[in-house]
């Protein structure tokens, strides 16, 4: 078929082969994309498959990729267990407080750094970016020791309380959120706030009435980022909390569902899936904000 058209059509040959090339390129794209999609998606799918199985089926020598007797018992068991609900509650509280705190700190700071110059403000903007590059793995040991010393001085025990995470997580969220908010604020035309100031608005009014509404997409993106980071954080809760009732989801699932050498895989997978659900749901509805926040951090500035 293809060779016939190629020989027959003299003048239109070039165009014909190009569009055919494109068609083949497209087909190959789909084939390879399917392969990559399988690679990227099978772990969560396998989580879901396992979560529907009973322990008996998990340890049976049947095809692990198929559910023969689907059951919701793992979900029911976890969602009625006080322990799991405590983890969920702790995670939710920490995330909500951290997101609020992050926004309260980073929006005014970003406004000040983007629009109002003061002594050292450019250095501070660079410094904010540098702090974003300092990983949690460098800070957890000194922070652990700092909290212990703080308890010795004041008698207030910080270690092994879930709320200590509210003070620790902003170190991860605030620099990045400030950084992307500086980018968003800087992209707002100067005439807008100059007009507001001329009309007698204070700086705070300018921020709340003009910058916040205009930069709302950026604020949503930053909020989502802050939520995702605080929901997923694993090292700090592992280092700073140990009692069962003070754990957040990621550490709680790992420390309580794995009892000694007995792995209750059905429940572990169910817990992991439920723990991954909030970010996944947000992502499903607000994918574009999610992505713009991610790309803004590295492309703007």
């Amino acid at each position: 078929m293809t060779t016939v058209t190629l020989d027959k059509a003299g003048p239109s040959r070039k165009i014909g082969s190009m569009s055919r090339d494109r068609k083949w390129a497209m087909r190959w794209s789909y084939v390879f994309l399917t392969l990559f999609a399988v690679f990227f998606l099978f772990p969560p799918i396998y989580m879901f498959i396992t979560s529907l199985k009973t322990s008996a089926e998990i340890s049976a020598a049947t095809n692990p990729w198929w559910v023969y007797n689907p059951t919701l018992s793992n979900y029911i068991e976890l969602l009625t267990s006080n322990q799991f609900l405590t983890f969920f509650k702790n995670s939710a509280l920490v995330s909500i407080f951290v997101v609020t705190l992050t926004m309260l700190i980073s929006i005014p700071a970003a406004f000040a750094l983007a629009r109002m110059r003061f002594w050292g403000s450019t250095t501070l903007a660079t410094g904010v970016f540098l702090t974003y590059l300092i990983p949690d793995t460098l800070l957890f040991i000194p922070l652990f020791k700092m909290f212990a010393t703080f308890a010795q001085w004041t008698g207030i025990e910080l270690i092994n309380h879930w709320w200590v995470l509210i003070f620790v997580y902003p170190t991860l969220t605030v620099p990045f959120c400030t950084w992307i908010m500086i980018g968003y604020f800087a992209s707002i035309p100067k005439e807008l706030d100059e007009a507001a100031i001329v009309d007698g608005a204070s700086w705070l009014q300018t921020l709340l009435r003009i910058f916040v509404p205009v930069a709302l997409p950026g604020i949503i993106a930053a909020t989502i980022f802050a939520f995702t980071v605080s929901w997923a954080q694993f090292l700090y809760p592992l280092a700073f909390t140990s009692s069962v009732d003070q754990q957040v989801l990621p550490t709680g699932i790992i420390t309580t569902l794995i009892k000694g050498d007995v792995f209750n895989w059905g429940q572990i997978m169910t817990g992991a899936l439920l723990g991954a659900a909030p970010p996944l749901i947000i992502y499903a509805f607000l994918m574009d904000y999610y992505i713009s926040g991610l790309t803004a951090g590295a492309t703007k500035g």
Binding site: A37, P43, S106, T137, L143, A272, Y283, L294, A298
Partner: protein, 310 residues
């Protein structure tokens, strides 16, 4: 309150000092300073102070009562495990970043080839690994790598290949942690490259097509130069994050077998928190600083360059 009381008794003087104070408070730079103050306090107390405090901690002995200078570092240099961790951290970070960048580049091109309508759907699916908290998705991998019930080994058994000790054998465990890291990190590259690809003007490709350039030449002479900045900055970012990785190795192998898969972060946690030797743990984690500093210098240079262009 005090101000009000003063102004009652000494109306004139109070008014002048108050207006001076008010003028100071109403100055733009003062307001800006107070708006940025919480940020500065947070960074100073929770980031900069701990960073220097860990330098101080690294010079103490295990009970943190005696100054030992570089004692912890010389102790580390003499330990074989330390050099193994250095080697493994570098190998892990470099291999994982190279593969993440390659996969991200290829998949970004594949998605970019699709008609605009379908792109959203594929992008949505391909980004899922990046959205799931790493601690959760690593649990799925741990279960896939299970010594007795591994679902991979089941598939391999169907084609007659014997069970693979995914996390039991040192080389396989190294392979496994890198594989999971690639899986979790490639979507980040994908999304950055896709955004960069969209910013390359279509006319350049049209001009190249008229000049008779093949796809390889188009990539080499147009796409790569146009994306150079994004590729550099994404790679540096990822290098930092991968080098400082904790979650994946901790959950998958916890450093085992025989400390063969430890990274700086996981080893520092093992020694510093679990082993209760905070100074030694701090010394280990400080070895992440040089690579971070180098990457930071390059990223900053790039940002300043772009700032000047704009």
């Amino acid at each position: 309150m005090v101000d009000a009381a003063q102004s009652m008794t000494q109306p004139i003087r109070a008014r002048t000092t108050r207006s001076g104070l008010r003028k100071f408070l109403e100055r733009k730079s003062t307001i800006a300073f107070f708006m940025a103050l919480p940020l500065m306090l947070l960074i100073a107390i929770m980031v900069i102070y701990p960073a220097f405090y860990s330098l101080h901690l690294a010079t103490l002995n295990k009970s943190m009562q005696r100054f030992v200078g570089f004692g912890n570092f010389t102790f580390l240099f003499k330990r074989e495990t330390f050099w193994m961790v250095v080697q493994q951290s570098c190998f892990f970070a470099i291999t994982a970043v190279i593969f993440k960048a390659l996969i991200g580049f290829v998949v970004a091109h594949l998605v970019h080839n699709l008609p605009d309508k379908g792109q959203r759907k594929w992008r949505g699916m391909l980004l899922v690994p990046w959205v799931i908290p790493p601690a959760m998705s690593t649990l799925a991998w741990l279960w896939l790598f299970d010594p007795s019930y591994s679902a991979f080994n089941w598939i391999l058994a169907q084609v007659g290949i014997g069970p693979i000790p995914w996390t039991g054998d040192a080389s396989w465990a190294r392979f496994s942690v890198i594989l999971v890291n690639i899986w979790a990190g490639a979507p980040f590259f994908l999304i950055m490259y896709l955004a960069a690809l969209k910013s390359v003007p279509e006319q350049l490709y049209e001009a190249a097509a008229i000049d008779g350039a093949n796809w390889w030449q188009r990539i080499w002479y147009i796409t790569l130069p146009m994306m150079r900045n994004i590729i550099a900055i994404t790679t540096l970012f990822s290098l930092i994050v991968t080098f400082a990785n904790f979650d994946i190795v901790r959950i998958l192998t916890a450093g085992g077998p025989l400390d063969k898969t430890h990274l700086f972060a996981t080893w520092a946690f093992r020694i510093g928190i679990e082993g209760n030797d905070i100074p030694l743990g701090a010394s280990i984690s400080l070895f992440m600083v040089p690579i971070l500093a180098i990457a930071a210098v390059f990223i900053l240079r790039d940002i300043n360059k772009r700032g000047n262009e704009a």
